[in-house]
Symmetry: C2
Subunit: 207 residues, 2 copies
Amino acid sequence: MGRALFDHADFLAAARDLAVEHGPSAVTVASLTERLEAPTGSFYHRFASRDVLLGELWLKTILAYQEGFVAAIDAGDGLAAALHTPRWVRTNLDDACLLLLYSRHDFVQGEWPKALKQGVAEQARRVTRCFERFARDVLGGADAERLRLAQFVLADAPIAAVRPHLQRREPPPPIVDDLIRATYRALVAARRGGRRRLSARPGAARR
Amino acid sequence: MGRALFDHADFLAAARDLAVEHGPSAVTVASLTERLEAPTGSFYHRFASRDVLLGELWLKTILAYQEGFVAAIDAGDGLAAALHTPRWVRTNLDDACLLLLYSRHDFVQGEWPKALKQGVAEQARRVTRCFERFARDVLGGADAERLRLAQFVLADAPIAAVRPHLQRREPPPPIVDDLIRATYRALVAARRGGRRRLSARPGAARR
DNA sequence: ACCGTTCTAGAACAAATATTCTATAAGCAA
DNA sequence: TTGCTTATAGAATATTTGTTCTAGAACGGT
């Protein structure tokens, strides 16, 4: 074979860099090949289309992110799962910008390439299962409200705490962990075992 | 004058609808004029460029959103400011999708049109002042950590609680207010007057 | 040395896009 | 009416986009 000057991973890495610097829409086949000084033919030799590249990039990144998250839930440690976000973000700053600053649709709009569609669906199922498991085991039930609470303390709140720093491409400071920890403790304690209500705590007027 | 079949607001409304349905990048001059059945000339008669349209749309929307927020802070009511987000989202679902699902850079990438640049800067100053005021008056000081806490309880967390519902274009259910309220109470109480630490509460082992 | 596979190389192409331009029609004021 | 302003109307243009296509170079096995 003719010597391979660029491989699959080179294109993915260049795409990630471009996306982090100028947003996913700036990842054009032209900007990509220009950055690598590769011909467009080399790109299409490896990727069926631009959508396939961006889809693969997104999927690979979110799977890496979810790994530690799922592990923590499986180990029954909700707080560790919540704190996984700032931890992972610190060690994977660029990947984190890619993933948490943009949505799936910023990478591939419309229908996803067939080969990836399955991966996306499986990915969605994985998180759902995590939330269900946490709601059942820690919150005392998997009804809609407890599922929503699980999603908030495990994912939404940690991501929100981290996001402003990602926008400046800086690693989240320790205070971020404190925010996540305090949120987790307050909201999980309020529901633990399904006894106490989340709001309307005794003596606190509801507004 | 030749009768005006379309005006400024028509284009803004159509742009908003397109952005909500298919993302800001789907707001092209062609899709816009096609939806209104207007000629491109009519568009460029009112807007200097596509960037100006999208910039105006974003700015006008975020200013409307911030109005109630700023008012609540000025009234010294932090919890009301935190709860303003779900409230405003319910009464302005489309505007909320536009604003909270995308970032400023999804509307205008690169430099902003000169006329709008000033408005964007002023807008940024307004929120910063709100956070500072809240940190000073309620949290007992405007150091970096308290500012970060203010931003989290007043903006980041409420937006995070609301976002999953916006992605499905559904109004946020009451549980969302409970999440925001509980988060606010837990984090603000921990810092009120600057006495207690956010983490490492007495009797709680830090991890 | 020869062949076939793999990859580089980049020109060529079609579709989409923002913008400009010229022409025309509708109202208003004199 | 005659002019002036404002807005519609849409063809024309230049650029950028993703993708395809053809040609040839580099290597491995025989």
